[in-house]
């Protein structure tokens, strides 16, 4: 029953002059950077940005407790259903791309690139490769030591979906960690290791890691700002989203904030290590927002 949750809504979310954002920890740096710049512009609004995970954020969003939800994946049908139940209407804006880097140890002198198929061989749940030589007989007969993000993260979902072909379909005998820095440490410390994680972690640890090219069918491409933005690094670049409650959007400070977000997203996402969305997506975002803003005042009485 939504009644009590709606009650707390009044206590926090809808408080005049406040904007509350929560959700994905992947998107958090972008939202936080925007929020900070927004505050620096001189605003009275109290802005808070949390990082309780996409799942956690969605739960609050569906309950109408927050204005904006950061998400490192699209909203799930079940979550959309919840929103509908609670009368929460929203718009989806994609704010950046996160390139997933596939990396090996710098001492690894045999492997420079992998095809999607080879990656699938490594990561598929049934009968995956155990040795490097299982992938390519020229490669050493060494154990294949795999590192990857925690199994309840958007990165894991996205990687498995794109590589294996089904979300969450993955071998389980790899070393998962909830902290990507730990994955860096792991790959950096083992010659036979291979791992995947957000591109930003590679950027900051270039000297400890070796980046692999991924061949999605059109030849191997290494991830970079450019290759992700021009969509040549396929298929391992995932979109990051924010979901905005349209009822909140009618509040001037939220509207102002979201507009500011769209203006700054390109610059700031780059600064925090993500890739800005291409122009066509940006235009799409602008249109969506415009529509919502135009509709918002008319919708307002109904939403209350």
């Amino acid at each position: 029953r939504p009644a009590p949750e709606g009650g707390s809504d009044a206590a926090t979310g809808s408080k005049s002059g406040s904007i509350s954002i929560d959700g994905s920890s992947t998107v958090y740096p972008v939202s936080m950077a925007v929020a900070e710049e927004f505050s620096d512009q001189g605003t009275d609004a109290e802005v808070t940005v949390g990082f309780s995970g996409t799942g956690g954020g969605m739960k609050q969003f569906a309950a109408g407790e927050i204005d904006i939800c950061d998400a490192s994946r699209g909203m799930k049908p079940a979550e959309a259903e919840k929103c509908k139940e609670n009368g929460v209407e929203f718009i989806e804006l994609s704010v950046a791309y996160d390139g997933l880097a596939v990396v090996v140890n710098p001492d690894n002198d045999w492997c420079d690139e992998l095809t999607v198929d080879q990656l699938k061989q490594m990561w598929k749940p049934e009968d995956p490769a155990q040795k490097w030589s299982d992938i390519n007989p020229d490669w050493p007969e060494e154990d294949l030591v795999l590192y990857g993000p925690g199994t309840d993260s958007g990165t894991f979902d996205y990687f498995t979906e794109e590589i294996v072909g089904e979300a969450k379909a993955s071998r389980s005998d790899y070393a998962p960690s909830e902290d990507d820095n730990m994955l860096v440490t792991g790959v950096a410390g083992d010659k036979n290791a291979l791992g995947y994680f957000g591109f930003a972690y590679y950027i900051e640890n270039k000297d400890k890691l070796k980046l692999l090219g991924v061949d999605g069918g059109d030849g191997p491409v290494k991830p970079s700002m450019e290759t992700v933005m021009d969509n040549t690094y396929k298929p391992l670049a995932r979109p990051l989203y924010i979901y905005v409650n349209t009822a909140s959007l009618k509040r001037p400070e939220v509207a102002k904030f979201v507009k500011f977000y769209m203006d700054q997203a390109a610059k700031l996402s780059k600064d925090v290590g993500y890739v800005p969305v291409p122009d066509d997506v940006a235009a799409e975002n602008a249109a969506t927002l415009e529509a919502a803003l135009g509709a918002a005042p008319a919708k307002a009485p109904a939403a209350e």
Partner: protein, 339 residues
Amino acid sequence: MTDALSNEDDLLRRRKRVSAMFGVLCAGATALCLLILIGLLATVAVNAFDAFLPEQTRAELEGKSTLEGLGARTSAFFSAPYWQRGWTFLVEGPSWRPEKAGVNPAIFGSLWLIGLTALFSVPAGVGAAVYLEEYAAASRWKQLVQLNIANLAGVPSIVYGILGLGIFVRAVTLQAPGGDYLVGLSLGRVILSGALTLSLVVLPIVILASQEALRAVPRSIRQASYALGATKWQTTWRQVLPAALPGMMTGVILAISRALGEAAPLVAVGAVGFINYTPTSPYSRFTALPLQIFNWAADPKPEFHSLASAAILVLLAVLIMMNAAAVWVRYHYGQRIRW
């Protein structure tokens, strides 16, 4: 009979060797503890050192080994910018730019949290301990409560977070025959909710430590007091509690430490990472030091890792200041009582 005090039989010599060895072992254990502590602190301090280095020093250090960089670091340390940055770290809020980020809202959030947590958990915890040790007659009920408390200590804090979300942040609707009841405080995602949740987390520590301290007070003291016509409460308040105070303080110290370092339940009850103002009331939204630390430590940028270490030092400083009072009380009273 033996004539010299040092002339002794084999057995005695062996026993003394055992005893000496035991002493050495215990001292070794203590040394080990201290070593661990020093190791951890040193690691943190070394990592934190780079947090406030000015941009240009950082650039200078690029590609140099630790030893080579020592000179540059030292000179940076004794220059004004280093300390200016240290100051802004304390008074500024979080930022995506490592050279600008600070922990001010987190410090205040944490202070509010532990202050309120101590306010709730210490009286309730000591009260419960007194009830169990001094008042409750040995019974099934008491055993049950006792078991309960020991159990609560083992519940992972995240579960408290889920509970706190349900009853402090929101409210649960219970469907009962006589109608629906709303159970909970519906406080929202504010400091008060966080503090109440943390209070539940640390309550078992306070209770169990206090119980042990109460148990250690000799029964003859209680008898003496009763025989002088003191009531149960007078006996407890004037004799038993003061005598048990040092031990209780230990519980309080451990509880505050725990509350200060806890992050998971706070995320559950709605602590945030970024907040653009300093919390001023129990009804503010909040962030806390451990959250800031977690977040920075998980950031890809290594500059943030140094900031995380610096924030740890701040957290420890807060902790030490909070503990100092409790330690003083413990020392002050502990000195006087030697049964």
